[in-house]
């Protein structure tokens, strides 16, 4: 496949903007409801930029948990970024600082959308990640300002948009061959099996063990 452009990254991300803004807004609403001050919520979206970990922090703190418990849950949830960033590391260019900064635009969606035949596309990742960053932060500001007058994203079915997106991005990879299919099936099974018995975040990290089937081929 031809090398992508920043514009490609922006274009592929556009269909997801309503869902991202809505979830950013629901983070803002939940954070204020949990007693997190508005500025902290906005700063967190700008610096952590990872939905599930941010939701975990406000829900642990909102339920009266300690900072240590909130940080532990969030770091566990974000631990998946280590293998995801490693998989995409060949796409990054330049010195350590540039790599460090560009890698911050890696989130589930930009990572998945930039996964092309034969590797990850840096420009698509950055274009998609930048759009997502703007949408997520705009949503958070909207949420802390509007409070709970906003609609719940689940009513609009937006929570179903994300698994659909990941399935759509997984589908073309499955044509690569039986080893890839085996890794995907095993990954899903590991994640489902561990969901009831481990803290959130662990199932997805443990699923990376499925890629060891590559050694058997």
């Amino acid at each position: 496949m031809a090398e992508g452009t920043y514009r490609d990254g922006i274009r592929v991300m556009l269909p997801l903007i309503p869902a991202i803004v809505a979830f950013g807004a629901s983070f803002g609403v939940l954070a204020t409801a949990a007693g997190v001050d508005a500025l902290a919520a906005v700063v967190m979206s700008a610096t952590t930029f990872a939905g599930s970990a941010q939701f975990a922090v406000v829900s642990v703190l909102g339920a009266g948990g300690t900072a240590a418990a909130a940080i532990g849950a969030a770091v566990l949830l974000n631990a998946r970024y280590a293998p995801m960033a490693l998989a995409a590391s060949g796409a990054f260019r330049g010195g350590p600082l540039r790599r460090l900064l560009e890698a911050q635009l890696l989130v589930d969606e930009s990572w998945a959308l930039s996964n092309r035949e034969g590797g990850f596309d840096r420009k698509v990742l950055i274009g998609a990640g930048a759009v997502l960053y703007l949408a997520w932060n705009a949503g958070t500001v909207l949420g802390v300002l509007a409070g709970d007058s906003l609609a719940d994203p689940a009513t609009l079915g937006l929570d179903a948009a994300f698994p659909a997106l990941f399935l759509a991005l997984l589908a073309p990879l499955l044509r690569r061959g039986s080893v890839t299919v085996a890794a995907a099936v095993l990954g899903a099974l590991i994640a489902l099996a561990l969901t009831p018995v481990t803290p959130a975040g662990v199932p997805v990290i443990a699923a990376t063990a499925a890629c060891l089937v590559g050694l058997a081929s």
Binding site: R99, L192, P203
Partner: protein
């Protein structure tokens, strides 16, 4: 420092490090062949795990709810070679429709 700001700082720094680790440390190095084959399979394994947990996990429980119907609609759209926007809309509309009915 309040608990909230401590969380903002610690989680922010940890996330920066988790995201940057691979790209900074693996800079300019070719992975050995076996390692490359394993890293290639990270994408399908992680994507499948994200599909599974985002469709069927709720906190630490497995659930079958409207998201599953959305995922089924998405699968049908993918099989019909629909564009990404249609796949995502089919999932959201199915889940929303089912929630409105029940």
């Amino acid at each position: 420092m309040s608990a909230v700001w401590l969380c903002v700082l610690a989680v922010g720094l940890a996330t920066v490090a988790l995201k940057a680790g691979g790209p900074v440390l693996a800079s300019g190095r070719e992975l050995p062949r076996d390692a490359a084959r394993v890293v290639d399979l990270l994408a399908p394994a992680l994507l499948a795990a994200l599909v599974a947990t985002q469709a069927f996990a709720s906190d630490e429980k497995l659930v079958l709810d409207e998201r599953a119907a959305g995922l089924a609609a998405a699968a049908a759209a993918i099989l019909l070679r629909a564009p990404l926007l249609v796949v995502v809309l089919a999932a959201a509309a199915s889940a929303a429709g089912l929630r409105a009915l029940t």
